[in-house]
């Protein structure tokens, strides 16, 4: 079930991942799912503000910024380069 404990919060800059599961109990997380952060979506860590929070992700070509506290609800499988 757990995918090596990788979440959106642990992705490194420039790294891509595919969302594998979402802990959707929190209405704030549901809101993020409406924005397209759902299972199967490929996400790339694009940048972060000073201090590493919030983080900007690329989602199908558009930028979306998340706080660390919300990013950890999204389990991801990192995409290995060359895949």
């Amino acid at each position: 079930m757990a995918i090596n404990g990788n979440t959106l919060a642990t992705l490194k800059r420039g790294q891509k991942g595919i969302i594998k599961s979402v802990d959707a109990a929190d209405p704030q997380v549901q809101r993020l799912m409406v924005l397209g952060l759902v299972e199967g979506a490929e996400v790339e860590h694009a940048s972060s503000a000073i201090g590493g929070d919030p983080i900007e992700f690329r989602l199908f070509g558009c930028g979306i910024s998340l706080r660390q506290e919300h990013a950890k609800y999204f389990q991801v499988a990192p995409v290995v380069a060359g895949d």
């Binding site: 979402v22 209405p27 549901q30 809101r31 799912m33 409406v34 397209g36 199967g40 201090g51 199908f60």
Partner: protein, 729 residues
């Protein structure tokens, strides 16, 4: 939920020649280029109102195609028909025809951003389920080309059940003509075919609809299943049979189980979107434009943050430096106009009402315009270019530590120029609690109207000694700025922990690519802002100005006129030339001071003197402070009048008068502790009718302006009391 149902306001009406053929809702994601497109389509034929009971603006415009007039309603941007924010609720309510004062749309213009088909199609698919005649405007096709996104429009149309798709570039106008024609044809279009992305949901909807009392649409059933029997869905619930109503919860349970419906909805529809994208969108190598380079550079944390400070410094400087000459111009124009009225109509009450009441009152409103226009020009440019979202993203962490969010940074910094546009700029903050906390903190920032009062008092009473490498006067001024910032932040923190306690809002900010703003759109928005300010705030400020005028003008001192005449003839007997003119001026100034002393305002000053005596203020200072409540910069003019140096006194004359002003027993009034107290009072007190009017407008209630005024006055009073009492003993 919002309390929209109780409040009735008349529908906005636009008078147009020709018949109104249809009303079309313009729907799309935030940042999809929807408003730019709306502005391009309707030009100046639009009207900004408010939705009943809320502060969300309602933009309605008229599109003329041949002899047809089509009403376009620009809805707030939304990501889904499952509404989350107030803006989204409004958009969804209008679409479903449950918004009071806005009729159900006859059709939909769906705005789809070619650079963000992923989120766009998620919404468009839901819109098509409404089965209202729909046309899709595919915007930003130029930016998509540059980013290497190729879209097979024919295939997309096929995937979306044959709905007309018009590619446009709103900024340059490419494709607008054919879009206009397509919109004119919307009323004649058949309802779009339904795309079934979620068979189980359709099945459940079909079961619910069996034996319904009235025809019910699929989209309405879908809302019932997804959102349940919430208030907004009551009209749909009433269409169902009693049996179906009882079964609603069971149907929802079997559909979703323990999974939140919104989560399942998002998962299933986005899976469909990904399938469609795989068929219609192909990527080519991106074309490296200035846009990509700038974005890449500003994406890095340190350059990005430095860039933000540079941008803010430029904005701040422009608002101060560019606005000042214009404001001086307006000021002197108002003075000259007032003087010419006095020359033409003499010294009567009517002339004074026109010159000192109406012209000065209107002047005090209009004088804010240069700052407001310049600041809003920048804010609109920053917003339309996509930079505002990035600024909020960069500052989020710092602002969070003081209980606000990143979006509060622009309103707060703007308020150093003037709180009025600063408060108007809080509209970018989606969370209501954050927004009100920011609105309450904003008036503490040292605005440009406080500066002349600070300058006068500091120059007169703070010694210009060196403290280290700084001048004590400069240090005090700096301290006052800092004091405002700290007081504002503490206020925001306090209010977020007490009256506006609540969960931290989710911070999910879409960060659009940088784009070039369109001049026409920028100007239309700027004009809209100016109109809103002049109409809504202007009326209140004007009324208050006239009231203050009458307080200072009445009752007339009947005995004064003969005395003035007598003194003038004595002077004419003994003096001549320039000396005589100076003496005339002195006599007029003394007469004005005597008039002020026995006017309602002077009496009010005497009346409240006991209340302000613990602060060390005499009746003159008290009267000036009372007169300054509508507009703080008035204080200098009133002090000039009561100290008989004329209301156009230069600082040197006035400050020497202040220094020699004494109590009846000979003690000086203006001691250092009293002046420090007065400065603190000034730093806190909300002496600005324009700000109060804008808070009223932006929060849609009198509660917040009354609270802000009381709170800030109380803090100012206590601060001044402490400074005077501790300093004097």
């Amino acid at each position: 939920m919002t309390k929209r149902s109780e409040i009735r306001i008349p529908t906005t009406e636009i008078h147009v020649a020709g018949r109104l053929a249809a009303s079309i809702a313009v729907v799309g994601n935030p940042n999809s280029g929807k408003s730019t497109l709306f502005n391009r389509l309707t030009g100046l034929k639009q009207k900004i109102g408010n939705y009943p009971g809320v502060t969300v603006e309602k933009h309605v415009g008229i599109l003329k195609v041949d002899d047809q007039a089509i009403e376009l309603v620009d809805l707030p941007g939304t990501h889904s028909l499952s509404a989350h924010s107030l803006e989204e609720h409004i958009a969804v309510d209008v679409i479903f025809g449950r918004m009071q004062g806005t009729k159900k749309p006859d059709g939909i213009l769906a705005v789809l951003d070619a650079t963000n088909l992923y989120q766009g199609l998620f919404l468009v698919q839901q819109l098509l389920e409404l089965r209202l005649p729909t046309v899709i405007a595919l915007t930003m096709t130029d930016a998509a080309d540059q980013s290497g996104i190729g879209i097979d429009i024919e295939e997309l149309r096929k995937q979306l059940g044959g709905v007309p798709i018009c590619p446009v570039v709103a900024t340059s106008g490419t494709g607008l003509e054919s879009l206009r024609k397509a919109i004119a044809g919307i009323p004649d279009l058949p309802p779009p075919e339904r795309i079934i992305v979620w068979p189980e949901l359709s099945e459940a909807a079909r079961r619910l609809a069996e034996g319904a009392r009235e025809p019910i649409r699929f989209a309405e059933l879908e809302r019932l299943l997804l959102d349940g029997a919430i208030d907004a869905n009551r009209p749909f619930l009433e269409k169902l049979s009693q049996d179906a109503r009882d079964r609603l919860e069971a149907e929802r349970d079997s559909l979703f189980g323990i999974e939140p419906p919104v989560a399942r909805d998002a998962r299933i529809r986005y899976a469909w979107v990904r399938e469609v994208l795989a068929k219609v969108q192909h990527s080519a190598p991106p074309f490296y434009s200035w846009r990509t380079r700038v974005t890449a550079f500003l994406n890095r944390p340190i350059p990005g943050t430095i860039g933000l400070f540079v941008v803010m410094a430029i904005v701040f400087q422009a608002v101060f430096a560019w606005a000042t000459p214009l404001m001086d111009l307006i000021d002197s124009a108002a003075l000259a106009l007032g003087a010419s009225v006095t020359r033409t109509f003499g010294d009567g009450a009517l002339a004074s009402l026109i010159a000192d009441g109406v012209i000065a009152g209107v002047g005090s409103v209009v004088i804010f315009l240069p700052q407001i226009l310049i600041l809003f020009l920048f804010i609109i440019l920053l917003e339309d270019s996509g930079y505002l979202a990035r600024a909020a993203y960069l500052m989020d962490r710092a602002m969070r530590s003081v209980g606000l969010s990143g979006q509060s940074i622009i309103p707060m910094i703007s308020s150093f120029a003037c709180a009025v546009p600063g408060i108007m700029a809080t509209r970018v903050i989606p969370n209501r609690r954050d927004r009100i906390a920011t609105i309450l903190a904003a008036p503490f920032m040292t605005c440009s109207a406080r500066l002349p009062v600070y300058a006068l008092l500091i120059a007169a009473f703070v010694p210009a000694t060196k403290v280290g490498f700084m001048n004590l006067q400069g240090l005090v001024l700096f301290g006052l700025y800092l004091f405002g910032i700290v007081a504002g932040i503490l206020t925001a923190l306090l209010i977020r922990k007490t009256a506006l306690r609540g969960p931290k809002p989710p911070f999910a900010l879409m960060l659009p690519e940088f784009r070039r703003p369109n001049l026409q759109t920028v100007l239309i928005q700027l004009l809209g802002r100016a109109k809103v300010f002049l109409y809504r705030a202007g009326t209140v400020i004007f009324a208050v100005a006239v009231i203050v005028w009458s307080l200072a003008y009445y009752p007339r001192a009947d005995l004064l006129a003969p005395q003035v005449g007598q003194q003038r003839s004595i002077a004419a007997y003994t003096l001549s030339g320039e000396e005589l003119a100076a003496e005339y001026q002195r006599i007029d100034n003394v007469a004005a001071a005597a008039q002020m002393e026995q006017s309602w305002l002077g009496r009010a000053g005497r009346f409240v003197e006991p209340a302000f005596a613990p602060l060390g203020w005499d009746w003159r200072v008290s009267a000036a402070v009372i007169a300054g409540f509508p507009a703080r910069e008035v204080v200098i003019a009133v002090l000039g009048t009561v100290y008989a140096v004329g209301d156009e006194a230069d600082e040197v004359t006035l400050s020497s008068r202040l220094k020699t002003s004494t109590w009846p027993d000979g003690r000086p009034v203006f001691t250092l502790p009293m002046v420090i107290g007065l400065l603190i009072f000034y730093a806190c007190c909300l002496q600005c009718a324009a700000t109060l009017a804008v808070i009223r407008r932006e929060t849609n209630s009198w509660r917040w302006p009354i609270f802000a005024w009381t709170y800030m006055t109380a803090i100012g009073y206590i601060g001044a009391l402490l400074a005077f009492q501790l300093g004097s003993n």
